[in-house]
Amino acid sequence: MKLSYQHYRRPFQFAILGLLIAIPLLNLLKVDAVQGMLCSIGAAGYEITCALGALQSMLASREINYSLLLSASVFILLAIFLGRVFCGWICPQGLLSEGGDKLRTRFFKSSRKPDSLKRYYSGRQFLLAFLGAGLLATFLMGIPVICYICPIGIICRELLQGTMLYKIGGEIIIIMIILAADVFVARRGWCRYICPVGAFYSLFTMFGMKVKRDQSSCVSCGTCQRICSMGNSPVKDEIVKTCINCGDCIDNCPEGALSFEKPSLFKSIPVIKG
């Protein structure tokens, strides 16, 4: 049997979630080689910081912090080379939202109908508008506003407090609201129309890894369009910046007409053959 992308992606997502639970437990046992959650991870002196958090921190304090820039560049480099893999392969809220998506298809049989293109474009505008408004408010108020509602940070903090202090904070309400909206209002609504973190990483995806359609073998059945949880339609070659490189369309294509394309950054580099 050929292994699909889902066979790698789902275990990877659960491994990240397990890591987020294991790190505070190990820290309690004084094993602190790896410290921190997704907002900021440190291992052996190397630091990775959430790029949007770092940007907000510098905007709100109106200072440039060079070590912060360095540690924030890791996720941006990931987005430049591999596209929005943070959303599809790492983000724990993405995992929850996909669970919500499964629930939604169970409740409403019609939800697999594709959204219209018009709705997608307004969705993209929504995403950028929320990101812009958040960053503007951050700059004006001097407080990292997006961090207050960021579900990734909230999940990390809940896991942290749950394992280390045995308490659950009230902000878990936000996660529940997002999940309820994902199931009952819009398919993966948070990721598609609001999430500022995804919107921020989508700004860097123009050179990255993309899904490519082979026109000769495609039979235009539209399966990819129905399966895509982010509202893209690979069948019409409309794969845009909401694509999170999850590989669902590639796995479900009956003709095998879809595949990942090499990052266009590498294409211009000539290959030296020995």
Binding site: Q35, S40, T49, A60, S61, G142, C147, L160
Partner: protein, 165 residues
Amino acid sequence: MPSWFERLFKGWSDTNIRPPGARSEKHLLATCIKCGRCMMVCPYQSIKIADWGSKYYGTPYVDPDAMPCYLCMKCPEVCPTGSLSTVSKENVQMGRAHVVHDTCLSWQDDLCNLCYKRCPLQDKAIDLNDDLQPVIKNCVGCGVCTYVCPTQPKSIVITPQRNLS
């Protein structure tokens, strides 16, 4: 209201002090991205994270009544955004202690001096006068004195830095 419901929305008390190395309240609120690194590294679990319901939500604090800061200075090293800057113990500004003379055992002609004995910056932050009564000198506000004070209510209390004029 049930108590668990109240706890859900309380999350902040005005006597909370900030972890060591915070430059000012405004700077900490601006730069802190609520990642929880300081809380994870704290060996005494003194640092907690403010709960939902106020603008302090997600930022770290120390409640000296529950567990004070022992000035091990591990948290400024891991802070990714520089909200907690690396300073020496003596230059930390978390707050300032003051002695309530009416209830302090030493000031009421008893012998106690627990705050003096347990102070991490003994003789610099708290000193004894000629009558062996504690006097505050260059206090950094770590809160150990409040934690060990045997009287109830506490006879030595910390005023957080943001409330000092």
